[in-house]
């Protein structure tokens, strides 16, 4: 068993455990923290796949950004209502059955897939390649993403603004 194999199993366990915790814990605040853990674990998965740049993005943008926004939102709503917000689940069995069915459905396709090819050796600096792609063929896509982010900001502002 190589170090990588051990690492994968550890990370996978952490990721799945914290994911389950996100959807099961009754405390909303804790759920957010578990989400942060799951996102960090995902980042570590990226590291296992030799993508340090994406690990950084995941950590900063995703785990940092998303979790901060969510915490803000929770605190804002809790301040408005003046009490702790708990969260409960509904129809847990139904949800579990449907989610499991979807998983089985996906596995049904995965099992028959020809995926035996081994991992090719890492070639060159992927970070630089990403950068080149972003300003090369994906430049227009990137610009469109910029518009999207501005528009999302505009929309979020519209809702969050309390004046009028």
């Amino acid at each position: 068993m190589t170090l990588e194999t051990v690492g994968f199993w550890v990370v996978a366990t952490v990721l799945l455990a914290s994911s389950l915790a996100v959807v099961l814990t009754p405390n909303l605040f804790h759920a957010v923290l578990y989400l942060a853990a799951a996102l960090v674990a995902t980042g570590v998965v990226f590291l296992l796949l030799e993508q340090p740049f994406l690990f950084a993005v995941q950590l900063l943008l995703y785990a940092g950004g998303v979790v901060t926004i969510v915490v803000f939102a929770i605190m804002l709503t809790e301040r408005l209502v003046g009490e702790r917000i708990a969260q409960t689940s509904r129809h847990v069995v139904n949800g579990a059955i449907v989610a499991a069915a979807v998983f089985v459905g996906i596995m049904g396709f995965l099992i028959g897939a020809p995926l035996g090819a081994p991992r090719p050796a890492e070639t060159g600096d992927t970070t630089a390649a990403i950068g080149r792609a972003l300003v090369g063929p994906f430049a227009v896509t990137l610009e469109l993403l910029g518009v999207l982010l501005v528009v999302a900001l505009l929309g979020a502002l519209h809702f969050a603004r309390s004046e009028e």
């Binding site: 194999t5 994968f8 996978a12 990721l15 799945l16 994911s19 996100v22 959807v23 909303l28 759920a31 989400l35 799951a38 996102l39 995902t42 998965v45 990226f46 296992l48 993508q51 740049f53 994406l54 993005v57 995941q58 995703y62 950004g65 926004i69 803000f72 939102a73 709503t77 408005l80 209502v81 917000i85 969260q87 409960t88 689940s89 509904r90 847990v92 949800g95 449907v98 989610a99 499991a100 979807v102 998983f103 996906i106 995965l110 897939a113 995926l115 035996g116 991992r119 992927t126 390649a129 990403i130 993403l145 999207l148 982010l149 999302a152 979020a156 502002l157 519209h158 809702f159 969050a160």
Partner: protein, 100 residues
């Protein structure tokens, strides 16, 4: 060596757990967290495929999905706050003025 299928199964599991959260959570913020997990599974898939295919486009794709997710969450939370202001609840169960 861990092969590609392991990563894909991991992704599928996270996706299903996220879906489970979306289906069962009452609190709108909780549902959002479930959606986050589902999108996270997408990223695991993309990076794994990119690495095993030796192709950079998947990594670029990951960057885009991460950014779009953040934008989506921002809008979603703003809607949750707006709904909280008028209805004083974020329990998605109780928001059923519109139906039929």
């Amino acid at each position: 060596m861990i092969g590609l299928p392991a990563y894909l199964v991991l992704g599928a599991l996270v996706f299903s757990i996220g879906l489970f959260g979306v289906l069962t959570r009452r609190n709108a913020v909780g549902i959002l967290l479930g959606i986050e997990l589902m999108l996270n599974a997408v990223n695991i898939n993309l990076v794994a495929f990119a690495r095993f295919n030796g192709d950079v486009a998947g990594l670029v794709f990951t960057l885009f999905t991460i950014s779009i997710t953040v934008a989506e969450v921002a809008v979603g939370l703003a809607i949750v706050i707006a709904i909280f202001r008028v209805r004083r609840t974020v329990e998605a169960d109780r928001l059923d003025l519109l139906r039929g």
